[in-house]
């Protein structure tokens, strides 16, 4: 064999949106070095622009920000901003990547992000981040929480770049000497083992559709503009107003499918996310106003197919009073009455044409593939689909046509954040699979000097007070605060710093620690959230325990909010500093805890998700126990014959089962159930009904789901009525029942979207359309009817819907309160449905009635596992993830993950993707040599503990339990997250969190 280049234990991630960030973190945590290449000057992608996120209404920035910080600070993620990939050469395991890096003109290592430069910069530029709703300067930071927390120069607009002598004001004010207008573009070359592409999406350019009036009518805006409008960090501080005239809108309309489901515009696909975001915007807008706000959404089909989305839609309609108007919009015009209002002319479902006036019209823009990728794809030979989205090979979830290159997020099709995050973890898993044997070869670990033992020493606190350029120093009298600090007990040294966070200051702090024998350090500057880890690093480098550090925020919480009252601000700064000093005197070193780690995994459920997960883990070199309740592997997929894209599933499944059975790393047990579970992450012990006890480090739950057995529509009473899964085998067998049928009827939402199961089963619309086409294929003369409530053929499945209509499948909408009626006839059944367009009942004598039955969880199994592993279920009995948006396959319980139908309805491709995601997440745990816990955990004073168990009840991490014999609470440090819920619940003051004890808090209060 010819010499193959050595594998490289690094991965290139292209695009630093949420997908890129997630993939990078998963890989870096799993033992791979990551190059994260981002075109813009900061990571974050689209999420920072969004206001709230559906369906939880969490603040987008708030949930993203911790990931930004983690990714930005990760030792094994090298973020390369202002850069694009020019070329990728090589093969899986060893690629050579060429990067074009644009000059930023600001050295991010020196820049402290203080913003003085932007204050001085005379050039105003439309702020792209805010959708041009306001201005920024030519030197700018993309958004407040951006990483790197550094400014960049807009080279096209900077005066000095155009004319070197023209300006230079920023240079004068930058006391960190970070700006260099002579910086040059660079070309970088990197060696990596695999590549993940997650360049995200672009929003549809609506100016092509003149009839919506965008650009002409000032009060027609895009959905992204509306997000910025709602955002507290947006151009209007979250005040809902019309950008054009500042008036508060009383009536707002959302127009759906702008740039989606529109084949005249080569945008025949559904953008998948617009229905939900429009509902969210309408609901949030209502919450923003103190007056009653009228909101209306003009739509064709409401596609709220995701987990918990249907309930969100129901609440918006029934509780929030958002109006939903099923319609076709013709045009938006001015009302021509000087109000600036807009008139929408549209037709109702029954064809009547109506107009209605609105103060503001929001266009729900569709998603487009990133334009820049076409060229690169061409160069790499990457297959794109007809819309220029990346074409993923069937049933790979995140594959591309090029081995070793993977895709995640909207580049392979429009998708929302949870699915994007899921794909990111899946891509991380797939990209690492080939690199398992070089895991850990390129990652770095930091070495620190031995820690000084400061126990019992007299307190010697060093206090560093930051000017933050002029941010603090311009308001607070910093020298006065320093002088004051020197008078406080235990303070051995106090000094002021221009930028406490700059590299040279860090060196000065270390020097001071050494010179003055400091054993506590207090920094008064900005937000601990962004800067505390950095200062703690400095302490560690100086040989002090990181927890001997205390920080107080005299910028955001003092100088910024009291800008007009410098004296009071100074007094407050003194108080804040005093509190920090008093607390610091009580700080004690906290040692991390290290526990042994079992590197084996348990996968529960032997369906496609479970098998895929097992194989994924095995490829990464981990031993897997796969347990299946039934006698054979394959799960519900054994009943499937065709994939959504026509794949031959029986052979796919049999290959999969063969592969897993042949894998020496995987021990398969069928016909067994879980009977008991003990332990926690890294140290689980699971007992099977066979009596075997499996020790393992992580668990992946993939218990699947089943098809609802309908009680309606004569199911089980009439042989002509069947579920889609039953119909599937007739179709596969080309059964005469199908080939001879005259009329075939599909009924949608059987057991879904009703009172008992208020969720959408997601896949049935597509499946029905697929089968309808199959019927047409086998029996072109048959009349095929699909009776539906909303057709939810999201993404590219929309194409299939169009094809079905083109091929004569008849779609008839019914409403929930007027369901079709199925009555038994002689050989056939009579189906009666009221047509919405005609408004009259239609009778169909159907030879086959295919019921799109709901996907229902196995409640018994799930609730048992829920108790065993201390993981929650939602009301329907599906497993509830740790966070709907950003932790879609994780649980609050560490080391337990999920995938597949156990999480909620989804199609096979999506299940595979999610299974891989679970592997990606599980590998971040398995890659650890041992479980090390930061140590800022809760601890119990057994003398004070009364054993009442309230801490146990409130602990979200299930880390506290009352010892049955000693009757005192016991903390499992491996599980404790240090959130403090227990400490604040404990009446006896018996449980405290290290680094934030009652005593420390009272010391702070008493300092005042």
């Amino acid at each position: 064999m010819s010499t193959k280049p050595d594998k490289v234990g690094a991965v290139l991630v292209v695009g630093a949106g949420i997908a890129g960030i997630q993939a990078s973190l998963d890989l870096a945590e799993s033992g791979y070095y990551v190059y994260l290449v981002e075109k813009s000057p900061a990571i974050g992608g689209t999420m920072p622009m969004l206001d709230k996120t559906f369906p939880t209404n969490d603040c987008s920035m708030c949930i993203l920000s911790p990931k930004l910080v983690e990714c930005g600070r990760h030792l094994n993620v090298e973020t390369i901003t202002n850069s694009e990939v020019a070329d990728i050469q090589g093969e899986p395991g060893n690629f050579k990547v060429t990067i074009n890096k644009k000059a930023r003109m600001v050295d991010p290592d020196k820049c402290t992000g203080c913003g003085s430069c932007a204050e001085e910069c005379p050039v105003k530029v439309d702020d792209d981040f805010n959708q041009g709703l306001n201005k920024r300067k030519a030197i700018y930071k993309l958004y407040a929480q951006a990483y790197p927390n550094a400014y960049a120069i807009d080279t096209t607009r900077c005066l000095k770049i155009k004319k070197p002598k023209a300006c230079g004001k920023c240079l004068e004010v930058c006391q960190a000497n970070a700006i260099d207008h002579l910086m040059q573009d660079e070309t970088l070359e990197l060696q990596v083992g695999s590549v993940i592409l997650c360049p995200g999406f672009e929003k549809y350019d609506v100016s092509q559709l003149w009839y919506y009036g965008y650009g002409k009518l000032p009060n027609v805006i895009t959905s992204m503009e509306f997000e910025r409008l709602l955002s507290a960090s947006g151009p209007f501080g979250g005040h809902l107003q019309r950008p054009a005239d500042g008036q508060e809108p009383k009536k707002i309309a959302w127009l759906q499918c702008v740039g989606s489901r529109n084949c005249r515009n080569e945008h025949g696909y559904c953008s998948s996310v617009c229905c939900m975001y429009a509902i969210k915007e309408a609901v949030i807008a209502k919450e923003h106003t103190k007056y009653p706000l009228d909101t209306a959404i003009f739509f064709m089909d409401m596609r709220t197919y995701g987990k918990d989305f249907e309930k969100y839609y129901d609440r918006a309609r029934l509780e929030n009073g958002v109006r939903f108007i099923r319609s076709r919009v013709f045009e938006v015009t001015d009302t021509f009455d000087d109000t600036g209002n807009c008139q929408i002319r549209y037709s109702n479902e029954d064809g009547t044409i109506v107009t209605e006036d609105f103060d503001l019209v929001v266009l729900s823009l569709g998603l487009e593939p990133p334009s820049g990728m076409v060229q690169l794809a061409d160069k790499l030979g990457l297959e794109l689909n007809k819309f220029n989205f990346c074409e993923s090979p069937s049933l790979t979830g995140v594959g591309t046509s090029k081995p070793g290159i993977f895709v995640a997020g909207a580049f392979s099709g429009p998708r929302d954040i949870p699915e994007t995050v899921m794909q990111a973890s899946a891509a991380a898993s797939d990209s690492a699979a080939v690199l398992a044997d070089v895991r850990g070869t390129m990652t770095k670990a930091k070495e620190y000097p031995a820690e000084k033992d400061v126990a019992g020493e007299v307190i010697r606190t060093g206090v560093f007070i930051c000017h933050c350029g002029i941010n603090i120093g311009g308001v607070v009298n910093v020298p006065e605060v320093v002088a004051y600090a020197k008078t406080l007990p235990g303070v051995a040294f106090a000094d002021e710093k221009l930028y406490a966070c700059s590299q040279d200051t860090s060196a000065q702090i270390k020097e001071a620690i050494d010179q003055y024998g400091l054993n506590r350090v207090v920094v008064a500057s900005c937000s601990p959230r962004t800067h505390e880890p950095m200062f703690q690093e400095t302490l560690k480098e100086a040989g002090l325990n990181a927890n001997l550090f205390e920080m107080t925020n005299i910028r955001d919480q003092c100088s910024w909010v009291h800008m007009q009252e410098p004296e009071k601000a100074t007094a407050k700064a003194k108080d804040l500093v005093k509190m920090a000093i008093y607390k610091s005197a009580l700080l004690e070193p906290i040692d991390g805890v290290t526990l042994d780690m079992n590197h084996d995994a348990l996968v529960i459920g032997g369906g496609v998700a479970g098998i895929t997960a097992s194989l994924g883990l095995s490829k990464q070199g981990y031993k897997v126990y796969l347990v299946e309740k039934s006698a054979e592997l394959g799960g519900i997929a054994n009943q499937l014959r065709f994939g959504m894209r026509g794949e031959d599933l029986p052979s796919y499944i049999s290959d999969l089962v063969a592969e897993v059975n042949a894998d020496a790393n995987i021990k398969v047990s069928t016909g067994v159930e879980i009977t008991d579970v003990h332990g926690f992450v890294g140290n689980f012990e699971t007992t099977l009904s066979s009596g075997d006890v499996i020790p393992h480090g992580v668990t992946i739950i993939a218990t699947g789901a089943r098809e609802y057995k309908p009680t309606e529509y004569l199911y089980g009473q009439n042989k002509n009525v069947m579920t889609l899964l039953e119909l599937e085998s007739l179709l596969a067998n080309k059964d005469s029942k199908v080939t001879g049928a005259k009329n075939v009827v599909f009924v949608q939402c059987v057991g879904s979207r009703d009172a008992e199961r208020p969720y959408c089963s997601r896949i049935c619309c597509t499946k029905s359309v697929k089968q309808a086409l199959k019927v047409k294929e086998l029996n072109p003369n048959a009349n095929v009817f699909v009776l539906y409530r909303d057709i939810r053929t999201y993404g590219f499945f929309e194409e299939m819907y169009r094809e079905a209509r083109n091929k004569g499948v008849i779609f008839v909408r019914y409403s929930a309160d007027n369901k079709p009626v199925v009555e038994a006839g002689a050989d056939s059944v009579k189906v009666t449905v009221t047509d919405h367009v005609l408004g009259i009942p239609i009778e169909i004598n159907a030879d086959i009635v295919g019921l799109a039955a709901a996907i229902v969880p196995d409640k018994d199994t799930n609730s048992k596992l829920s108790q065993f592993y201390k993981v929650p279920l939602n009301q329907e009995g599906f497993f509830l993830e740790a966070h709907m948006k950003l932790r879609p396959v994780d649980f609050g319980t560490d080391g337990v993950f999920m995938c597949g139908l156990a999480h909620g309805p989804k199609n096979l491709e999506e299940n595979i993707s999610q299974a891989k995601a679970a592997v990606g997440r599980a590998c971040t745990v398995l890659a650890k040599q041992s479980i090390s816990v930061e140590g800022k955990s809760a601890f119990v004073n057994e003398r004070k503990c009364a054993g009442c168990g309230d801490c146990e009840a409130v602990c979200p991490a299930k880390a506290v339990q009352v010892d049955a014999i000693k009757k005192v609470a016991v903390v499992n440090e491996a599980l404790c997250k240090g959130c403090g819920a227990c400490a604040s619940t404990c009446r006896c003051g018996a449980i405290n969190v290290k680094g934030c004890t009652n005593q420390q808090l009272i010391a702070m209060i008493k300092a005042l």
Partner: protein, 280 residues
């Protein structure tokens, strides 16, 4: 005008010394601010004083220095409560309040012409150091017979006053036996618990008094050894350590039976304690 027994005497902390390896015991050297102050504080070995950290409160500690060491007071304090913790954190040069001397003292007059066996365990060695230093003073050494000191700690790092122990080791005036509970690196001395070591050393009870201070278990197991050696309840002397506040027999918490440890103690003979309930 009667003397106000609640008012502390301000003294200057001139040394805050970390006495033990576990850093939990510090020895504080306090300097009188004036000669009058020093005159107002006549004390004897075995007495204690209330030390106060202004702003935190006061707590009683046995005086570790001897009246034969003028100008200063010494206290060795374990970090247990609010006051001791605050003391440990104090910078040299600070002002500390001292209220005393309080309580009775070792009956040194009775020891005259007799042999004295001092047995100490752990950090309860403070007033024993005072006693030994007092008796070893050249002006007084002749008053007493043989002085034997048996002193032990869990490990060598926890022994107090290591420099002085070394000096005593070399001195013909005193017979020092130090011991640690378990073998330890760098320790060439005796290994064993105090009761056992006391039995091995077997100091004669003939014309002798034994003074014993230490943790309750040590006392419990050493008592029978002393009895066996012939020490009577009358010649066995202990120092009690009940919780105290006022130090002057008023606040009510340190009583053992009708006796107040602060006022009537802390030094009791075994015979006296045998008459009292065991509430200590």
């Amino acid at each position: 005008m009667m003397k106000n027994p609640y008012l502390p005497l301000p003294m200057k902390l001139v040394k805050n010394f970390t006495e033990t390896e576990d850093k939990l015991i510090h020895t504080f050297t306090l300097q009188f601010l004036s000669e009058e102050d020093e005159k107002s504080f006549p004390y004897m070995p075995g007495q204690f004083a209330e030390l106060c950290v202004f702003g935190k409160g006061e707590a009683p500690f046995g005086i570790a220095s001897s009246p034969t060491e003028p100008g200063f007071l010494k206290f060795s304090v374990a970090k247990v409560g609010t006051v001791s913790t605050a003391l440990h954190m104090m910078e040299e040069g600070s002002i500390v309040g001292v209220r005393g001397p309080l309580g009775n003292y070792y009956p040194v007059d009775q020891f005259k012409g007799k042999n004295v066996v001092i047995i100490g365990g752990g950090f309860a060695f403070t007033t024993l150091r005072s006693l030994a230093t007092y008796m070893m003073h050249p002006d007084r050494r002749g008053d007493f017979g043989k002085i034997t000191v048996i002193y032990g700690a869990r490990n060598p790092g926890l022994l107090l006053y290591k420099d002085e122990l070394a000096a005593w080791e070399a001195s013909p005036d005193i017979d020092l036996i130090t011991t640690v509970d378990r073998e330890a690196e760098g320790w060439n001395g005796r290994v064993g618990f105090i009761p056992a070591v006391t039995g091995e050393v077997a100091p004669s009870a003939e014309n002798a008094h034994a003074i014993i201070c230490g943790p309750p278990v040590m006392i419990k197991f050493t008592m029978p050894v002393l009895e066996k050696l012939g020490f009577t309840p009358e010649t066995t002397i202990m120092s009690l350590e009940n919780r105290m506040k006022c130090g002057i027999g008023m606040c009510g918490r340190c009583n053992v039976g009708g006796k107040y440890v602060c006022k009537d103690g802390p030094i009791f003979t075994r015979a006296q304690l045998n008459e009292l309930p065991n509430e200590y």
